[in-house]
Symmetry: C2
Subunit: 395 residues, 2 copies
Amino acid sequence: MQILVLGGDGYLGWPTALHLSALGHEVAVNDNFARRGYDEEMGVESLIPIATLEQRLEAWTELTGRKIRSYVGDLVDPAFVHQMVRDFQPDTVVHFGEQRAAPYSMIDQAHAVYTQTNNVVGNLNVMYAIGDIDRDIHLVKLGTMGEYGQPNIDIEEGWLEVEHKGRKDRMVYPKRPGSFYHCSKVHDSVNLEFGCRIWGMRVTDLNQGVVYGAETEQTKLDPRLATRFDYDGVFGTVLNRFIIQAVLGHPLTVYGNGSQTRGLINIVDTVECIRIASENPADRGEFRVFNQMTESKSINEIAETVANEFPGEATIEHVDNPRVEIYDHYYNVVHTALESLGLKPTLLSTTLIDHLFDVVVRHKERVDLTAVMPTVRWADTASELPRTARELAKT
Amino acid sequence: MQILVLGGDGYLGWPTALHLSALGHEVAVNDNFARRGYDEEMGVESLIPIATLEQRLEAWTELTGRKIRSYVGDLVDPAFVHQMVRDFQPDTVVHFGEQRAAPYSMIDQAHAVYTQTNNVVGNLNVMYAIGDIDRDIHLVKLGTMGEYGQPNIDIEEGWLEVEHKGRKDRMVYPKRPGSFYHCSKVHDSVNLEFGCRIWGMRVTDLNQGVVYGAETEQTKLDPRLATRFDYDGVFGTVLNRFIIQAVLGHPLTVYGNGSQTRGLINIVDTVECIRIASENPADRGEFRVFNQMTESKSINEIAETVANEFPGEATIEHVDNPRVEIYDHYYNVVHTALESLGLKPTLLSTTLIDHLFDVVVRHKERVDLTAVMPTVRWADTASELPRTARELAKT
């Protein structure tokens, strides 16, 4: 298949491109390097050093003989998107190319507006390119479990059979997103479901859980193929942060009482989910939703798992929750669709955690502990911008 | 009360400002005159001539001694919005200031992106201004019945009690919007519901039906106070279009089989609904939704009502439906909240239709029949732009 991976230079887009290329698909990546730019803006860096996209692509060809094409440009530019889709003629477009951090979207007005316009307009441009050029192109779009919020009923896969006053309908699952970033993903889903109705688009919307893990079969082949590993308060995700805190002897910082529950997925399952979705396209006019996660754990459970597994001493500290969310809530997610198409889940295990300890120890000298704590508060309209390590060192 | 009406130069914003001012509220209007600009772009005009905002405001003071302040500027400019809200210190912000035509949003990529960014960013800026300056300000936000689509269950007022696998929750009502414009209103609602949770905003989201009618108690006091009356294929709404077609001896053009049903509301009820919502604010943290419509009618029923009432001969013609929608569908809308707060509905009547015939006859020479037919097709990614009457005359 011809597969175009948007955001193909990012944490997940890059390993996905490699996984698909390794399996024999013709792959191209697109990126505008916005993610590398956020690092500059925030004064932080990936724990694992990453090569440039050019170096990455060269290394891949050198090691495997396979070629991945690249299209450098911004998805908010409609002419660029149109030209890229017309040029590459993909069967599938995998869309990772959005601003993907909830705290980043909550920094202030400018970051909220940037996140929503960047994500919604980019996605609309992709939709229009497909609508114009070839409506058979299957769009595999990344969303997030955070779109659903914390409902008191089971979280179904995007659609809900509703019975109300003796009548029935199959309706889009009601969403209650947890940040302006999560809202932007809901907006995308609304636009895409509409696109399926009016243009007969083929769409798979993947509501992904929190991803953890540092490498896949391909990224570990060579340091130049490594993907990024974020641990800072804005782009870092919870499990990675706990691992780093344990290794550095810092208390594991749990936000609030820690009973809030998240869906999780290992990075090796993410790339496999994208393969499965791509190789089993949605029907014409179908807005198909998969919950891309393999298990649920509360923040306390994640912290305890990491603390128990850590060979040294690790303490847990509860800090003010920067987010607005509810505790001790019901959380039961249906996630059978991808498994019924062949996904074999890699669940969180002591082996995996031990491996992450190793990764962090290897790059320990690169850790900037001052970047780990949250600086962006949901209840504020303008949060304190994370300062760079250099600025903090001065104070 | 201090009430700031965003989009206060438009079809409904202007009569609302007058209604609230007449009742003794301190009113200010904001506009960027985008709506007048769309007329230029499309080469069409309001059937009823309208004065400039400056002339309107002067006439109102001259006739009543009351003063309405004006803030000219664009809601997508965050500094402008912030300054305006800080300067006027409203108790209530009534937000009509969005691009509001479904066909306009479906012209092509550029119009879809414009509609969504203009509406979503403007609304985010209003939210941030309220979040920054005074979270007690009540935001009365205009949405549309077209956000709901055509569900097979009753359309409740924004929230739905869901029972699923033996568990219950009160969830936002699932939406299935009918155009990129309608999608933009869903996006606004998602952002606003989130704003209520994180900032404790007071929001009333009004899902308004198709508005018909040409004047209110205040706009008819003087020709300089008149509000616009659109009948073209992009901004005109169905009832107004049928009236004009009848008067000009043109067949009443029903899109598709005509069984599709719409919620309707008279313009005099719209302004009264806004008063009721403003004078009965939502609680802190409450995302309150009212269905602002008073009756449901199929397109066929509306056409037949107009044809039957017309003193001359009026025929009905079914034309290809430019929209993608379903026919012979269930449509039952709950709209009791505004009535329970005091709204006395003005239902569609022969008197009202006769009055509209009079209005059209009075301005008959201004009608451009070539502008009436639909030119924007939902299934296309780039619809034929409506040509100006002048261009059409050449062909």
